[in-house]
Symmetry: D3
Subunit: 287 residues, 6 copies
């Protein structure tokens, strides 16, 4: 019924699909729904910042009623997605996991309020907090990270990754859901920021665009997953744009300031300022 070129291509592709078995063809795969997860994030933004993203009509309710109204269906939706994400023989209970996640939200909201403070205090170009909540990619990436992290801690597969990749795609900021990050976290501009899975970050830390907190040599296969592969950044540290800090044993001590484009694979004592001396540069008249 088909032309020869289509028939040929189809039979080869069919062969590849068949050969790789149930993995990429057939109906047994059950995966969370990306659109549903984005909806969950949207609802959570309405929950945390009603005046910015919520429905005006609903804000005639008492705040508690407003919150409950959003939480009830959210719990259900999340449980549904979790049940799609869990492997079939999993002993975990999606309802319990969703409930447990809900219970963390008040704490997450408070952390986010601290992040808003940090962004406002740290960015001289911010005219008001409205702009930060409404339009800062840094806040959006942190918001998504804090939620994905709670699911990661509870060993929910796939969903945290979908969340973090969605934020990555929107903001250029790539924070692994496994990272542990304290309060008053600040990211400005943010494009190119990478924060690895086992990174530990304290309170009041500031990162600028292009900062990498990475592993020293991520060549090892994932079967030999070493414990801690990414650095520790203590309270009050500032890391300027383009700096690269690598290694699981690398500790940037409290209050340290790491200059732009610095490259660190060993620890820095607390209260130190790492001043990068620009690499040798020749100035000559352009032809």
């Amino acid at each position: 019924m088909y032309d020869a070129p289509i028939r040929d291509a189809a039979s080869q592709i069919g062969e590849t699909l068949r050969r790789s078995g149930t993995q990429i063809y057939g109906k047994c795969l059950h995966l969370p729904d990306r659109k549903a997860i984005i909806d969950i994030l949207d609802t959570l933004r309405k929950l945390f910042f009603p005046a910015y993203f919520g429905d005006a009509a609903l804000m005639t309710l008492a705040p508690e009623d407003y919150a409950a109204l959003l939480l009830e269906p959210l719990e259900l939706q999340l449980a549904q997605q979790i049940s799609l994400a869990l492997p079939e023989n999993s002993a975990a209970d999606p309802d319990e996991l969703a409930q447990d996640f809900i219970a963390q939200l008040p704490r997450v909201q408070q952390l986010l309020m601290s992040d808003v403070e940090a962004l406002f205090d740290g960015d001289p170009a911010a005219q008001n907090k409205e702009e930060i909540i409404f339009a800062y990619p840094g806040l959006y990436a942190i918001f998504v990270y804090r939620l994905a992290h709670e699911l990661y801690l509870r060993k929910v597969p796939t969903i945290p990754r979908i969340m973090s990749e969605y934020a990555h795609s929107r903001t250029g900021i790539d924070i692994h859901p496994g990272a542990a990050i304290g309060s008053h976290f600040f990211i400005d501009h943010g494009t190119g920021v990478v924060v690895g899975e086992t990174t530990v970050i304290g309170d009041h830390v500031k990162l600028y665009q292009g900062v990498t907190l990475g592993a020293l040599s991520p060549r090892g296969g994932h079967e030999s997953l070493p414990g801690k592969r990414h650095p520790t950044v203590e309270n009050g540290v500032t890391i300027y744009s383009g700096a690269t800090i690598l290694g699981g044993d690398t500790v940037i001590g409290a209050g340290a300031v790491v200059g732009g484009n610095a490259f660190l694979t060993r620890s820095v004592p607390a209260g130190t300022r790492v001043v990068i001396h620009a690499p040798e540069q020749t100035f000559k008249t352009t032809e």
Copy 2:
């Protein structure tokens, strides 16, 4: 009516919403509508490049009539968004601001035509101007910047930021609406480019991916907003990928060329070529 976990979470979140008062809960906040602002950008793209983004049926009109047709509702929409963005007690007149903005558009369009020239002349991989107008992220980011800048100059709050974050999200290029940029501006690839609020850029300047034009130490709070915190880049300068140039007093003189990954915190005379000597690198056989 609700289960205990929801009730508990709701009451805590309600408490947080209540405590931070009208700022994040309640209906008094009035903010521009992000979707409406993206619509305005879309209309402006149709206005400037009709053959690429406009409606074929409308192009049967004389160009003047086509332009007027798009401008009339645009003025209204913009005035509406401006009135949402202005603080309640503002003395500014949204209609006047919108009218004033409209009056700048012919000049903005001419600048954009010069940018198209620059991109075509500067990118050997560009097959034709169609590709540039239709698909280059650099041009899109400059287009949005030039419009946001006109609003910034007229002290319209929030909208310029929404515009620039939208472009940032789509292109990875983050140009603050406050920057002053001349004609024939060129950005290639662009991911990670950051241009700060008080940056001054001349005509015929070229930037490649990952270039930062930033502040020296942006630690100062926004209450102590110093005058000029970002560099000046004179006419005809080229800055290759990954270069970082910091400081309000740093001036890159006309015609200078800054090599990739350069790191500059002091001025460079006109006509100079900054050749970066790669940081010392050891070559040894891999195990």
Copy 3:
């Protein structure tokens, strides 16, 4: 009929539109439809990874029938877009080009399967292959590149660029459709990666975020298009984050490892490890 400010702006903009002739105004321009091209990419994703993005109902078919079902309309849609992209006096036949493209798909799929392997083997944080296919920006960028490249090879204008800019916008990864890339290609995080038009990359190559494979001095106009302007990266090379490698004669020999933030404008022998010595950095106590 219009107010003076609109009339004035309209007449100036009209003048600009008129002066630049048919290029930006009038109805003779025929361009591919960006939305249609994204649809084509979506269909191809359903074709290659049915269990992740396809329609469950259709997977009751034999894999060959499933493939043929998707390929038939796809060929038509692609031919339509190609005919919009070709210049009017082109001798090329859209139907033939589309057919030829279809014939490459089985091979492209196999390359992509090798990329999935590479991503799984190379990222210790990857919990399973599902996550990679479903959510990794690196794989998405490679997927789009491999398809755009086939069109580029067949000299189809504009469409490859629309595809690569779409992927760039979603992932921050900018691979020129002209690059030649072998099997088992690995990109992690990826934001800021730039791979130039004449780059040649072997099999089993790994790139991390912010790597640039660029031209030495792209100042030359596009009329004087030099042959090979971007580096060659041989089999088994790993290039860590932020490294910059420039020049058409620069060859990174097989199995070499280039450290993060390295800056190379000359070749590196096979089996070499380029260890970057961090630029001189002073540690002093912060005030």
Copy 4:
């Protein structure tokens, strides 16, 4: 710029548009928005029958809170549409009219609950009340009529007509918003039912498909609008399918039963049964 046939047609149509002045061309006309009015009807259906058409999440509220939540934005929307419907020099206050309308809703809801009872008691084919609320065109037409009538009584122009024509289009039942109709109203099947503007209908009245309650000779122009042109139907009357009852002085007395296809232009005493003797019919063998 256009072909001759289009130019010719356009100039003639333009002439017609111009000649009929502002009435059909120009931007001064302000009319209610049909879609907004259908939205208002949808909201009212959610208000009256939450379990059938409402949002499950909202039903966790106390019924009073649920109702208030829907009423608040509804009042605003309705006021907006009323202000579009009122002539420009009108002395009426849209906000007051909307508020007054809201105040009638509890009574309207009770009437509708009585109509549900009537439909359930009167239709032997009804399996349960769910079907009636969910799917009976008769109930839908009555629901819309009761709301349109409240606006008609308050002399709101155009909106009642838009409402009744919408119901007419969906159900084939055409009840003029001006008619006065008591409780427990019953319409079965309904296609072709027409109830004129000055009709008066008591409680517990039943109408079947194709019943006309019309004016005797509606030839008179609308300038000579006579007082009452349509019949009065007293409590407990049943009118079977296809019956036509005409005239402002025609009164169908309480409890009367009018047989199918009856044609009445004069009054019928209470408690009477109008048995139509089928028109003379010949029975002959078909060829």
Copy 5:
């Protein structure tokens, strides 16, 4: 928090909602989804008339594969809607009911093909069968009836009614799902046709607009549901527009022709022609 008028209306409406208990408020009601049922009808139309309503791409399959492809998800969807429609304590099995329904579809399709024949043979204005399948409301109403009837026979509640009311709304033709109708059924124009629940109709029967096949006196409550309340129409009968035929014992014998506007409450022998003598009409000069 609300104004007094809203608070008052809300409290009264809340009271009504509360008083009628779970019936119209609360979340325990489970009902089929009207949109899902319309989707099911759309899929069935694609199944029966692929070339008219189906997806061209799918028609490259063998017809059997095409049919199976549509039937598999349809069975699931239908079972889901049936489970929503069944009362909670029902012993019926939704999956079995859906499977049983699927098994009837080949027979239903053949009946519909006979209806297409009948419409083509019976309407001199039909230019071709395409028009009939594509645009005749009569065929659409019969199509929906035949499907709703199969569910009615299997005692599925609510869904048949939703289906028949949807067809009623689109076509003005109201066929109760309980009616039993033979092959080659013909309805022309159709507006106002009513066919009651216990009607029995043979093969090759023709109905024109406004025909009622109704109950004699449907006053009895539904608790006293009498056996057969609507007429029997034998093979080959034609009933012209506006005719009314009432009563469970009324039988229109095979091959009879009932003239337009006839009114019958008693049986008509086979082969009879019922010629209606127009009611006495006076012709006088109009004033």
Copy 6:
């Protein structure tokens, strides 16, 4: 791969699809697109009544420019649909037919303006002309008829029928595109009105709901299509609700008035008033 019940049903349905050959299965059928035709009707409504249905922004144009703007793409769309409707071997030229249709539009618009007059003059309940243009089903049905008629006259198949059935579905008014209807046509309420293919209607004619202008005995197959099967209604005739007038030789003379529910199969002289004497009716006390 499928369960037995699906496999069985699919194979039988497949057999039916296969047996009826290309007629209902396969991809060779080309049919107009219903949605595209509704779009064409919507555009024509915007063309004729801009202030009611058009885009406010466009009404800043001179009326002629407005009209031309809408006509240009409309001609193209219509030609496309006509080419889908014409049989493959047709000698007719879609472009010419579309152009010819466009040329009739000024005349059609003038007829419609006369219909608006007639509706306003004839309906005492009409408050203003706005309501008529905006909301009267009678006007909508006439609008669609007048357009479908022009296509019918030019022997365009299928499209006129799709148009008339769409209007039928929305209004319950079924006017065959073949009917010839003069100016100042008036239909009130309209549900159930049927106007047959060869009907001829003069100027200033009024029809009320449920009027049938039909064929005497439409039993004849369409192969024996008799010339004129439906009545002629001369200038100034009024026909009240429910009247039935049948036969190709039946002429209702100029100025005649036909009473409600009249049944006529023979001609009526000009200036006559047909008063229907209600069929004999007994009045007895209801039990």
